[in-house]
């Protein structure tokens, strides 16, 4: 991308920014250490003889490391900068290992592990450590031309921000939820219930709002001064850029185009997302967890939402933004966007598997010149395996869940037939995406369950 800038020139360009970046990180950790030490909240991590190694010492040490990195980065000298970069073989390895499957499954596994071990991950010391680590990785990576090109593209900067903000707020919410869940077990009131006294809005709220507004204005001004809004060549309807990307908040939908046809990815599924969101209050009958953070009291709702939001929505947006290049091919973060990269695509449809591979015969086809109705009947017959599978999926799975799962039986008893079916079908719709992903990635390499190109109806 930055093809016209040589590597030393590029390093020179970013050195100033990177130096300030590391200085900021050093300051951040210095302040953390000072705060812990001053407020006597510093915990002892281990002892060597008589010397205690506390969390304050740890962040001070981290701060010193960043302090050393700052001048190295600031030098802009390729030799020195190599010290503050991820070694090239590691970058190549990361690119080599990374692909849609590893990325998607990997993110899910990491999120799942963090969820299961949440009591560990919400500890401030762990969370702060992870933050430092990810910021360090950012810094060590940004000396890579390709990484820098994709991350510092003006319209992509907000998404970097989004990822860190989501990390922070997910930590905060989980921290409070874990705390509340423990309190409830001990029979104590939630953190929120402790804060129940009434106070006057003037001055407490009005001043908070005022301070927020001033801080935000300052932040926006700095952002606007520091980063110029993008403006490319004038519009031309004949020069199609490659890749052509939708605005970033729709890139999750664009990513779904890999697995679904536009009528599903662009119309049906987004409509269902909106409808499903609106339906949440009317489907979640659980009265617990209203007005305070908790996970244990609403496990099912929590996991469903997090799966939809963090895994399906955010993860796909990040992938569509940072990891999809020309021809919507997958590119690792340190990989050059090569327009000529080809990926073999020979997907097979379910009906082909059924008729050709399983039954060893040609797929049914209407005799030439037959009437539309006959043709349609033949098409439906040809696609019967997929159609039946889908009907079973939407009609049989919900009652089967009631029969075989105690949990769903309870839901059904509470919700009644219609509400239960709406919920179950929304969940099944949501699960359709991962299911299609898995079938595509599996050795079957399956494209469509139902393929009716004659009527543009592929699923």
């Amino acid at each position: 991308m930055h093809g016209h800038v040589s590597e030393p020139e590029f390093l020179e360009q970013i050195s100033g920014f990177l130096g300030v970046y590391y200085l900021t990180l050093a300051t951040m950790n210095g302040i953390a250490a000072y705060y812990l030490w001053q407020s006597k909240r510093s915990a002892v991590l281990f002892r060597v003889g008589k010397n205690q190694f506390t969390t304050a010492t740890l962040w001070l040490a981290v701060s010193v490391v960043f302090l050393f990195l700052a001048p190295i980065a600031m030098s802009g000298d390729p030799q020195w900068m190599r010290l503050a970069s991820i070694p090239q073989p590691l970058r190549d390895l990361a690119d080599f290992l990374m692909g849609p499957v590893v990325y998607t499954v990997g993110t899910m596994v990491v999120l799942l592990l963090m969820f299961l071990a949440r009591e560990f991950f919400v500890k401030p010391v762990v969370a702060w450590g992870l933050l430092n680590l990810s910021l360090l990785l950012m810094g060590l990576s940004i000396t890579d031309v390709d990484f820098a090109a994709i991350v510092t593209k003006p319209d992509n900067v907000p998404i970097v921000g989004l990822v860190f903000l989501l990390g922070f707020f997910t930590w905060l919410a989980t921290y409070r939820a874990v705390e509340n869940d423990k309190r409830k077990e001990r029979g104590e009131p939630s953190l929120e219930a402790l804060n129940n006294e009434k106070i006057l809005v003037w001055p407490d709220l009005v001043y908070t709002e005022l301070i927020c507004m001033v801080a935000l204005t300052a932040f926006l001004l700095l952002w606007a001064i520091g980063l110029q809004a993008p403006l490319e060549e004038p519009a031309s309807s004949v020069k199609t850029p490659n890749p052509s990307k939708a605005p970033w908040y729709f890139l999750g939908l664009q990513e779904m185009l890999v697995y679904f046809d536009p009528w599903m990815a662009g119309v049906v599924l987004p409509s269902l997302v909106i409808f499903g969101l609106m339906a949440i209050p009317f489907l979640d009958y659980n009265k617990a967890g209203n007005g305070y953070y908790t996970i244990k009291e609403r496990m099912f709702a929590y996991l469903t939402f997090q799966f939809g939001f963090l895994v399906l929505w955010i993860t796909l947006i990040v992938m569509g933004t940072f990891l999809r290049g020309p021809n919507w091919n997958f590119f690792g973060v340190y990989e050059t966007w090569d327009t000529h990269k080809v990926e073999a695509l020979n997907n097979v449809d379910l009906s082909e598997y059924f008729w050709i591979y399983l039954l060893g015969q040609a797929r049914p086809q209407a005799p030439a010149g037959s009437a539309t109705a006959t043709k349609l009947a033949f098409i439906l017959y040809r696609e019967a395996p997929g159609i039946i599978a889908l009907l079973l999926y939407f009609i049989v799975v919900p009652p089967a869940l009631v029969l075989y799962s105690k949990f769903f039986r309870r839901l059904f008893a509470h919700m009644g037939f219609i509400r239960y079916m709406v919920m179950a079908n929304l969940l099944l719709m949501m699960a359709l995406l991962p299911i299609k992903m898995i079938f595509r990635w599996s050795p079957l390499n399956m494209k469509y369950f139902i393929a009716i190109p004659e009527y543009l109806t592929n699923l």
Partner: protein, 258 residues
Amino acid sequence: MATLSETIRNSQIWKSIFRHPMPVDRRNRVVVMLTNFFLHLHPVSIKKQGIALSFTWCMGGVTFFLFLVETVTGVLLMFYYRPTLEWAYNDILALRDVTSLGILRELHRWGAHAMVITVWLHMYRVFLTGSYKPPREFNWVVGVVLLLLTLLLSFTGYLLPWDQLAIWAITVGSNMARATPFLGYEGPGAQLLTVDGIDMITNASDARFGLLGARFVGEETLNRFYVLHCIAIPLAVALLLAIHFWRVRKDGGISGPL
């Protein structure tokens, strides 16, 4: 100086605007909330956790503030921008290179990105605190519509600079409408809608055409998106925000444990 500020505060003009003394004691702190138009959006008193940053993350408030920033910078940008093929791109170029207040464009663009992010975070917080549960179901629904409108605001605005980034992003986005079942000419079932062998759904009558005002992203689209972006959607958002805030209060204020 004390006398000067006293003189001002005792003047008829000041008193005509603020009908009570400074809010330094309890009585006047209550009165100020009731008599000031801007402050009366708030209740007089509130549960402490309702304003705890660790509870609300202030994200609804930040979103609202960003909406105001977008309104102000947007109106100012309208002074400099003409939504025609001849001028759109050049006007934006001028904002970058010539206009002394060109930073307005940066404020407006980054503010818009930020607003999309904060509205998601707000929804995230509302979900994680279970604040959509009774009696706040309806306000959640209003919120979802606001979320959709925020995205549409951002989407329609994306086209206005009329550069490569703009038209191709909108082309990719709006191509989806072409595949709407029955209503898009490349959508499932559209072929079935024929009268006497004449297709009812063509690329000049389908959902995408309705969105773009043309068969492809062109001058009609620019005009259409401009009107949607500057007038129609902001008005709808303003109305829904009024309902949203009204309902926050009518539903018993910020949620909390019972």
